[in-house]
């Protein structure tokens, strides 16, 4: 009953663990470039290890006896296993290879392989022989080499196994229990692993009872200072056998629960999550809005429009059309009159500059790269101001990802729609013809009037037709000529107004169109990558939160 309950608990924990591991996997996937690579690598290793361990026998609990040289790991190992399996001695360091003793061999093989325990150092206790120890069934006891002797400087076996064991028994002794080598590197680091850490204060027989009590209190204070809030301390004596049974029962409990492996991974996960959180503190706005809001988009479009010079283009179009239309729709007499004025260009012998100036207007619309860059930068800065720096850089980089192409694309896109300033609309031609028609009419009128004067008034000769000699027609003719002139002037003014009006309309239309296109381009080339990065940011912190439990 209790076993099945424990099993159920295990299953719960397992699924929970799976969930958190998935979150970690997501972090490992999203983190590179944003989080310290070493940490990501470590997280990756933890994932691998977790995967391996969960695949292997869940019925076994790997218990490692760890500690400094001379603390009595091997003696304790032998005591617990009841056999002289691991050689003990007075020379330091004694044990160089890890020894393992298995209670209940079924399925332990692959696990031992994974732990890289050499064959000749594996021992099994068939549970049938140990009636009294059935509760230890499923225990894999490891006798580690020390981690603090000069040998350990070059040999990291203890280090490795401490990182993978399901349950760690720190074998301390009254002389060495406060060594920095044990505490600084392991105990304090693994402070969150309380559930799977046991401290055996070995060589208790060397102390008087009251000394032992003092020692235990001191040790427990020390551990609490290091963050182990409820240390499990078992005074033992491998030589006298005292306390070994209570240690055994502690082990038996863990073994029976079959949960140490999961707890271990859980604790490791906690630890790495804490570290991740430390290097990547969750900002106040844990989740940013995954899309770039409209105001910012507008801002970007505005800035890009400025970079292209949309308002200026419109204005120029309006002005240039107005000026140029004079050549076409203007009153020819006014133009001719203007030409009579002396030209400074000519006096500087720069007469042909006019053509050049006209050519200026032939140039098309283009975007200014520096301004485009600044616009994009401003967007990225605005979006990421609350983010940790690594992510700020991420947003910036994603915004700039297509920056080199952006000005060109913008130019191309806008050239399609922007009118050439030297364009000549058809109705200008019509008006021009009309104007010249009027000029012709006027000239004809002048001729007619002259002829009437000649033949009708001065009687120079015989008029060819009556029309040419009819003096009475003269006032009418004069009226007509005046009206022709007036018509010309009127139509010039009117068409000029039409040009300006049309240019104004066109400018509005053009600006709207350019804006639309610029906004489309920016969405495609800037907003999209940025939003992708924002989603990544959100995912990352979501994973971090869910992994943190």
């Amino acid at each position: 009953m209790s076993v099945s309950g424990a099993r159920a608990g295990t299953m719960d924990t397992r699924s929970d663990l799976g969930f958190r591991l998935a979150a970690l996997a997501r972090i490992v996937e999203l983190g590179p470039g944003r989080v310290d690579p070493a940490l990501i690598a470590e997280a990756g290793q933890l994932l691998l290890r977790a995967g391996d361990r969960l695949k292997l026998s869940g019925d076994h609990t790997v218990v490692a006896l760890a500690g400094g040289t001379g603390s009595g790991k091997s003696s304790l190992f032998n005591r617990i296993s009841g056999l002289e399996l691991s050689p003990t001695g007075v020379r330091r360091p004694t044990t160089a290879r890890t020894h393992a003793c298995v209670w209940g061999l079924d399925g332990a093989g692959p696990l031992l392989d994974w732990l890289q325990i050499q064959w000749r150092h594996r021992f099994a206790r068939a549970s049938a022989l140990d009636r009294g120890e059935s509760q230890l069934h499923g225990l894999i006891l490891l006798d580690l080499p020390d981690h603090d002797s000069i040998r350990a400087i070059t040999d990291h076996e203890a280090d490795r196994l401490i990182q993978v064991a399901d349950l760690i028994v720190w074998v301390l002794d009254p002389q060495k229990y406060a060594d920095a080598a044990t505490h600084g590197k392991y105990v304090a680091e693994l402070a969150g692993h309380e559930a799977i850490t046991v401290f055996a204060l070995n060589q208790a027989d060397r102390l008087a009872p009251e000394e032992l009590a003092e020692c235990v209190v001191d040790l427990s204070d020390l551990l609490k200072r290091e963050g182990v809030h409820h240390p499990r301390i078992v005074p033992t004596s491998a030589t006298s056998g005292r306390g070994v049974n209570s240690l055994k029962s502690v082990l038996a409990e863990s073994v029976a629960n079959r949960r140490a492996a999961v707890q271990r991974l859980d604790a490791d996960l906690d630890r790495i999550m804490v570290r991740l959180t430390k290097v990547m503190p969750a900002p106040d706005a844990m989740a940013v809005h995954p899309t770039v809001d409209l105001a910012r988009q507008e801002g970007l479009t505005d800035a890009l429009c400025d970079a292209v010079g949309v308002p200026a283009v419109g204005e120029a179009m309006e002005n240039v059309y107005g000026v140029r239309s004079i050549d076409w729709v203007g009153w020819p007499y006014a133009r001719w009159a203007a030409r009579l004025r002396p030209d400074p260009m000519n006096s500087l012998r720069l007469g042909n500059l006019r053509d050049d100036i006209r050519a200026v207007t032939a140039a098309s619309v283009s975007a200014q790269p520096a301004e485009v860059e600044n616009a994009v930068q401003a967007l990225a800065d605005g979006l990421s101001s609350d983010m940790p720096e690594a992510w700020q850089n991420g947003v910036r980089d994603s915004a700039r990802s297509q920056l080199s192409r952006l000005p060109q694309v913008l130019s191309d896109e806008l050239t399609e729609i922007a009118p050439r300033l030297d364009r000549v609309p058809g109705w200008w031609w019509l008006l021009k013809i009309w104007q010249y028609l009027l000029v012709v009419l006027f000239v004809a009128g002048v001729g007619w009037a002259g002829a009437i004067l000649l033949y009708g008034v001065f009687k120079v000769g015989r008029e060819p037709t009556d029309l040419l000699g009819d003096v009475s027609a003269l006032p009418w003719l004069g009226l007509m000529m005046v009206s022709v002139l007036g018509l010309g002037l009127l139509s010039a003014i009117a068409s000029r107004n039409f040009v300006v009006l049309g240019a104004g309309n066109e400018r509005v239309h053009l600006e709207r169109e350019m804006r639309r296109r610029i906004s489309a381009v920016s969405k495609d080339m800037v907003i999209k990558p940025v939003e992708q990065e924002l989603r990544r940011y959100n995912d990352f912190f979501a994973a971090l939160t869910s992994g943190r439990r």
């Binding site: 400094g68 040289t69 001379g70 603390s71 007075v90 020379r91 330091r92 360091p93 603090d148 002797s149 000069i150 040998r151 002794d173 009254p174 002389q175 060495k176 406060a178 060594d179 920095a180 080598a181 505490h183 003092e214 020692c215 020390l222 400025d306 292209v308 010079g309 200026a312 204005e315 120029a316 002005n319 107005g322 400074p344 006096s347 500087l348 012998r349 720069l350 042909n352 500059l353 006019r354 050049d356 100036i357 050519a359 200026v360 140039a363 619309v365 283009s366 975007a367 200014q368 790269p369 520096a370 301004e371 860059e373 600044n374 800065d381 720096e389 850089n393 000005p407 130019s411 300033l421």
Partner: protein, 936 residues
């Protein structure tokens, strides 16, 4: 007879070794080979080619000597002589054999001296376990070969400094042939008497004695005087004066010879009076002890005259003394009488003989250190050394290691260590080289340091317990007489002296305790551990070790393979510190195994010859071990206490080690400093490179026309296309000013101008932006170091002021260009007569042209140049256009550079805040190191 305190470095080492050997050998039987070996080590000291003969003889003599001890149990007046006779005979025999050559040559050489004397020196650096080591020098010297022998001599003496050295100069009168017979009468008082000094036995006797004596004498105080009195050596002693006297006689003739020959030695002839006294005094000393003395005085008196010239050295310079003594010994070979026996009386005796005269030899009433302080080092040397050291200290103090270059932590630590060591230890030590030696007890937590100190002090001076770590404040235990010395505190003067430990972990207090049971001149310092979780303890312990004269490293049977322990041993080795190792808490039954294993490990590590003490595991009561466990250690300490010379050498060795270590530590520091300087330069280069790149970008953008896009282009089109361009020029007509049609122009002009300005601004701003990002990126690439700097907020973007400043700069530039146009336009008179123009508009046209109009996609038509160019040329003339163009461009460049310089300043500031490594500091360090070496 002179006994002198002598400090010779090389000798020191030998001595120590021999000392070790002795102590270890307590258990083991003494082996003759060892002594021989020791001797051979000395032999290289012989310079004189002629020494060969005597050398050869000496060696066998040594062996003999070594053997002798086995025979002689104690020195009784008679037996020694007999045995001596034996020895001497044998010696002489060999001498004879070996000496023939020597004799021959000597015959030729020293005409004054008694012709042909076989020099026969046996140096037996015999070790006496506890108090007295007797070195038997049997010097039978030919004037010539003797001289050679003496060459060898000096080192030898040095070698057995703490020990009573017996110099037996068994010299044979005339040709050595005679020698064999002569040997026998050891006690023969007559100066003329042939030789044989009983010395060898003396040496041996004494030597043999040690073991028994040690047993007898309470371990605590093998006082020298005691030794002298206790040891039934009067015989041994007595011959000495005779010896001397004998020598003196000889000396007279020889001395000239000798002095001539031994250039190494201090000028022999100068010091007459002092030496005189010495000799006489010592002989008197002896006489008090010895019944035989009667003849001596005369001798001495007689000798004195002769001696005068020779022996001067002695009093003058302790170092030379040996030599002069040697020289004295050499001549003495003439009468070939008793071996001159120099008793290296520990502590008291030596100075007594030197300074005070006979009385002193008996009691050591004067606290040793007072005398010790007298002449630790010759003044000028000390002064030079002090100056060099304080120079070194100053240059180390001034270092600022601000940049987090890899290894900066180590360097900073090294800096503070070196500083602390110079102040706490080296400078005080240079002043008083043999002041009470500070023995620092260091080791792992729980190794029993405090227990050991308590036991040695026979009082609970330092608290002990089962809690780890136990000791947090260092405890200094010393003899009450020494207390003032430590309380006053040149040594460790940064530490506050307190009476009981304060709150745990205070870095700068030192508990001072005194106890009668500790020998004088040696103080024990109990330190916090080196490996517990409390890291301040490690710091304190290392600081204490830095100030130590001797290191006593305590480890246990459970710990001796711990990595921190070996780190400490490595440190000791590196520093050349004098070291003793205590292996404590050793279970009795496995003592042998552990001891062997440990010693093998030490041997592999190159520390096989370090003194080692093993303490069994036993119950601790009241914070102390049973006294018998520490007997050896106590004895060792006592030796140090009593034997000022040995202590002095130990102290000197450690000091030398420290000074030697400076040879590598300070250059290492300097190298690190150089690395910092280089690194800073690199960081600076990063900044410069990034901004240079930005500047180049701007240059390009402002000349290839890429600036003339977007708004600028549109405005230009507007400006030109709407005819305003044409309107900038007017024909000058009297009475007529600007046309009405230009009404709209100012607006357009302004728009154009501001477009141009913002275009330029944006180019500069974006370049500045990129440069800022690049600097940070480059810094980040510098392995983690730049990271911290790059993390300073705001470095990744231009400063807040930047945009505004750029605006101002461009505005100013535009104004400048207008001014240029204005002043340039005036020059072309012919045009000015005809045409007036709007300078502002023309300036804009000029800028357009300057910024690369026509080189980009802006259409360019005719071949004679771009539109603005031609227009400007027309108006201003080609020459002035070129001038103005150059000026305007360089002005723009200068302004932008200035702008970037201001930006760069931010990075420089960050660098400076991190600490400006002084580039000359490294050089100063090297110089200081060199000065130190010179001063030494």
């Amino acid at each position: 007879m002179k006994s002198t305190a002598k400090k010779t470095e090389c000798a020191d080492e030998h001595t120590e070794q021999s000392g070790d050997a002795v102590i270890e050998e307590k258990d083991l039987p003494e082996t003759p080979e060892e002594q021989t070996i020791t001797f051979q080590a000395i032999r290289p000291g012989d310079d004189d080619p002629r020494a060969a003969g005597s050398d050869a003889t000496a060696a066998p003599g040594q062996e003999l000597d070594a053997e002798i001890p086995t025979d002689v149990p104690t020195a009784t007046p008679q037996p020694p002589s007999a045995e001596t006779g034996d020895t001497a005979e044998r010696d002489a025999a060999r001498t004879g054999a070996a000496g023939t050559d020597g004799t021959d040559s000597s015959g030729g050489q020293s005409s004054d001296a008694a012709p042909g004397q076989a020099a026969f020196n046996v140096f037996a650096p015999v070790k006496a376990g506890a108090a007295q080591v007797a070195t038997g020098d049997t010097g039978t010297s030919d004037a010539v070969s003797g001289k050679a022998a003496f060459d060898a001599f000096a080192p030898v003496k040095a070698q057995a400094p703490e020990v009573a050295t017996d110099d037996t100069a068994a010299s044979s009168q005339a040709h050595h042939v005679a020698v064999p017979k002569d040997d026998s009468p050891a006690n023969d008082p007559s100066p003329e008497a042939r030789d044989t000094s009983s010395t060898p036995e003396n040496a041996s006797a004494v030597k043999k004695d040690d073991s028994p004596k040690t047993r007898d004498v309470p371990p605590a105080t093998p006082d020298v005087s005691t030794v002298l009195e206790d040891v039934p050596d009067p015989r041994g002693v007595s011959p000495a004066p005779e010896d001397v006297s004998a020598d003196h006689e000889d000396v007279s003739p020889v001395s000239g010879d000798v002095s001539a020959e031994k250039l190494d030695f201090a000028p022999v002839s100068e010091d007459v009076p002092a030496a005189d006294q010495d000799v006489s005094l010592s002989s008197e000393d002896v006489s008090t002890d010895t019944p035989d003395v009667s003849p001596v005085p005369e001798d001495v008196a007689a000798d004195d005259q002769d001696v005068l010239p020779v022996s001067e050295d002695v009093s003058f310079d302790p170092f030379k003394e040996t030599k002069s003594r040697t020289s004295a010994g050499q001549p003495q070979s003439g009468p070939g009488d008793t071996g001159s026996r120099v008793v290296w009386e520990p502590a008291e005796a030596a100075p007594a003989a030197d300074a005070d005269g006979s009385d002193e030899s008996e009691g050591g009433s004067i606290p040793p250190y007072q005398r010790v302080r007298e002449v630790p080092l010759p003044k000028p040397v000390s002064r030079a050394l002090t100056a060099a050291l304080s120079g070194l200290r100053d240059s180390v103090t001034g270092l600022r290691l601000g940049l987090d270059v890899p290894g900066v932590e180590e360097a900073r630590k090294a800096q503070t260590e070196i500083l602390a060591q110079i102040e706490d230890y080296v400078i005080p030590r240079v002043h008083m080289s043999t002041a009470p030696a500070l023995v620092v007890v260091a080791g792992s937590t729980g190794a029993g340091k405090s227990t050991l100190v308590n036991t040695l002090a026979a009082a609970k001076v330092s608290s002990t317990g089962v809690r780890r770590p136990t000791t947090g404040t260092p405890v200094l235990a010393c003899h009450p007489d020494d207390r003032d010395w430590f309380a006053k505190g040149d040594v460790l003067n940064g530490m506050i002296r307190v009476d009981r430990p304060g709150p745990d972990g205070t870095l700068d207090s030192l508990v001072l305790a005194s106890t009668e049971r500790l020998p004088q001149g040696v103080a024990l310092l109990d330190t916090p551990d080196i490996d517990s979780v409390v890291e301040t303890h490690h710091e304190i312990a290392h600081r204490m070790l830095d100030a130590a004269d001797l290191w006593v490293f305590v480890t246990t049977a459970a710990r001796y393979a711990d990595a921190p322990a070996w780190n400490l041993l490595r440190l000791a080795k590196e520093r050349g510190a004098r070291l003793a190792i205590v292996l404590s808490r050793v279970p009795v039954r496995s003592r042998e195994v552990i001891d062997k294993h440990f010693s093998r490990m030490l041997q592999e590590y190159g520390l096989g010859d370090v003194e080692r003490f093993v303490i069994n595991e036993s119950t601790v009561t009241g914070g102390r071990l049973p006294d018998e466990e520490v007997t050896e250690l106590r004895m060792w300490l006592t030796e140090l206490s009593v034997d000022e010379q040995r202590r002095g050498q130990a102290v000197q060795a450690t000091l030398d080690g420290v000074l030697n270590s400076f040879r590598s530590r300070i250059p290492a520091l300097a190298r690190h400093l150089e690395a910092q300087v280089a690194f800073r330069a690199e960081l600076r280069t990063d900044v410069d490179a990034a901004y240079m790149g930005a500047l180049a970008e701007i240059d390009e953008a402002t000349s290839d026309g890429s600036l003339l896009r977007g708004e600028v282009l549109a405005r230009w089109q507007d400006f030109a296309g709407s005819g305003d361009l044409m309107k900038t020029l007017h024909l000058r007509r009297p009475g007529r000013l600007a046309t009405k049609s230009t009404q709209q122009a100012p607006m357009r002009l302004r728009a154009f101008k501001s477009a141009l300005r913002s275009g330029l601004e944006s180019v500069i701003v974006s370049a500045g932006q990129r440069a800022a990002v690049e600097v940070v990126a480059r810094w980040r690439q510098r392995d983690g170091v730049g990271d911290r700097l790059a993390a300073v907020s705001g470095l990744g973007r231009p400063s807040d002021e930047f945009v505004r400043r750029v605006g101002r700069t461009i505005g100013a530039w535009q104004e400048h260009v207008v001014a240029l146009i204005r002043s340039g336009g005036v020059t072309k008179r012919s045009v000015a007569k005809l045409v007036s123009f709007d300078e502002e508009a023309l300036a804009l046209v000029f800028m357009i042209s300057l910024l690369g109009y026509g080189s980009s996609d802006v259409a360019t038509s005719s071949g004679t140049g771009t539109l603005p160019e031609r227009m400007l040329r027309g108006v201003l003339g080609a020459d002035s256009l070129r001038t103005i163009g150059t000026k305007a461009r360089s002005d723009l460049r200068a302004r932008i550079s200035l702008l970037f310089d201001e930006e760069t300043l931010r990075y420089v500031q960050v660098l400076d805040e991190a600490g400006i490594p002084d580039e000359a500091a490294a050089k100063r360090l090297y110089q200081a190191t060199y000065n130190l070496e010179v001063a030494r």
